[in-house]
């Protein structure tokens, strides 16, 4: 297949698709006889990325694949397209989400233990509905509480390709000037919680 056509197909598919496309999704666009090699697809993506340098949009990799998006610097103008202001999330929601993201998998009880307040069912339901979190199992203790973890959609939404890209946890100081780091104690708190 000519490289120009290959590029047009990949470009077209990425702009037409409502969800990010992974390499294997792009491979599916082609019949067996014309299917390009993975490396060729990747090289084409790099080409497209280069060509977009000066454009109002860019081609980025997020958790579930590649997508075109409008450059962040243009957000101010883009907002005028919609009447509604983007939603602000409450601190409670962000704290809950942060705990799930950094500590997954964990139960609602684990979250309450750290936050010191009850986590409302509505909040958990909203996160589940947005498909930012999902139930990945149940802890084997009485009541079999659900264990929550973040999803690929969560990463997509926050423009991340994997959990490693989350900002590092800050505010970590050592206790009693010693070997006992907060992270260590966090870790042990978590294990205590899991053992319960």
């Amino acid at each position: 297949m000519k490289s120009l056509l290959l590029r047009q197909i990949i470009e077209g598919a990425l702009l037409a698709s409502p969800t990010p496309l992974a390499i294997k999704d792009l491979e599916q666009l082609f019949s067996d006889s014309e299917r390009p090699h993975k490396d060729q697809i990747l090289a084409t993506i790099e080409d497209i990325q280069l060509d977009c340098r000066d454009r109002g949009y860019e081609l980025v990799a997020v958790a579930s694949g590649f997508r075109f998006q409008i450059r962040e610097q243009l957000a101010g103008w883009m907002h005028r397209l919609w009447e509604e202001k983007p939603k602000r999330y409450s601190n409670a929601m962000l704290e809950t989400l942060a705990l799930i993201a950094y500590r997954q998998p964990l139960t609602r009880g684990d979250i309450e233990l750290v936050r010191g307040v009850a986590v409302s069912s509505d909040m958990v339901r909203t996160l589940l509905e947005r498909e930012w979190i999902k139930i990945v199992g149940h802890r084997d203790v009485p009541g079999k509480p659900a264990l929550y973890a973040t999803t690929k959609q969560f990463l997509n939404y926050f423009n991340l390709s994997d959990l490693e890209q989350l900002p590092e946890l800050t505010g970590v100081t050592t206790i009693e000037g010693g070997d006992h780091s907060t992270l260590g104690s966090l870790e042990s708190a978590r294990h205590r919680a899991i053992e319960r």
């Binding site: 037409a16 998006q69 705990l99 936050r115 307040v117 009850a118 900002p167 800050t170 708190a189």
Partner: protein
């Protein structure tokens, strides 16, 4: 679970002495504030804004005074914390039990620190503050993480999907099938939920769970055992029964009452928790 909801100032009567109000905040009068309480100028506003919880309030108190978490003066912090709780109580904000639990924990730490150590057998001198410090630090880590998360580039706020129409021939979009029955069921489940939350709404407006909790405690404190059934007043209707039941659950959770059933399917008794 109730949280501090400043907008809904409860009208349930806590008998209070009438004193000269020194301030009026959102239509409520404030009368007593300990003179030596450290109250920054914006404190009242901050009190009225819900904290994320007791740990959040504590962190705030510590940070406002530029104190190090590792070196908190528990006596001072406890005093400040309870003063704030008192202030909120004065504003008749319904306090979540989480805040009261923390107050109890602080009081316990305070008493441990005041009591002379009887024996120092254990070589690990356990600082009674250690657990609190650990929790505060852990909470602060995630409070920061939440703030950082809010700064992440976010779809529909910082970046937007770039899409182009595809309307060429052969556009075969396989859409999920939906039946009328699916729609009917979906609507029924919304109604079910909205009915439940409506009960909740009514409960906030007419009968306070907290008030009912106090009533129940009064009833059982006079007697050693009370039968479960006698605590319900059927004339109050479904709503009253639900509130009483919720109040009892809450009392159990806070370990203020104990519920026992000697035989299966037998009579259930409620008694005040022995301390």
């Amino acid at each position: 679970m109730t949280r501090i909801t400043p907008k809904k100032i409860q009208n349930n009567a806590f008998p209070r002495q009438v004193e000269m109000p020194f301030a009026v905040v959102q239509g409520q009068t404030l009368s007593v504030v300990p003179d030596d309480l450290y109250i920054p100028p914006d404190a009242l506003e901050i009190i009225l804004e819900a904290f994320e919880g007791p740990l959040d309030l504590l962190l705030y108190l510590i940070r406002r005074q530029n104190l190090d978490i590792l070196d908190i003066d528990v006596l001072e912090i406890t005093r400040q914390y309870t003063a704030y709780i008192g202030l909120m109580h004065g504003l008749k904000l319904e306090l979540a039990s989480d805040y009261l639990v923390m107050a109890a924990m602080l009081a316990e730490i305070k008493s441990q620190m005041l009591l002379p150590r009887v024996c120092e057998i254990s070589d690990e001198a356990v600082d009674p503050r250690a657990e609190l410090i650990r929790r505060l630090q852990e909470y602060e880590v995630f409070k920061n993480a939440a703030m950082n998360m809010d700064k992440l580039t976010r779809l529909d706020r910082d970046v937007f999907l770039a899409r182009a129409e595809f309307s060429g021939p052969n556009r075969v979009i396989l859409q999920p099938t939906v039946t009328l029955d699916d729609i009917k069921k979906a609507l029924q489940s919304v109604y079910e939920r909205s009915r439940l939350s409506q009960h909740h709404e009514i409960s906030k407006e007419f009968i306070s769970t907290r008030e009912r909790m106090a009533d129940i405690l009064k009833q059982i404190n006079n007697q050693s055992f009370v039968t479960f059934g006698s605590l319900f007043d059927l004339s109050e209707g479904k709503l009253g029964v639900v509130i009483t039941f919720l109040a009892m659950m809450e009392l159990m959770k806070e370990r203020l009452v104990e519920i026992v059933q000697p035989n299966s399917f037998g009579i259930i008794y409620v008694r005040a928790q022995e301390l």
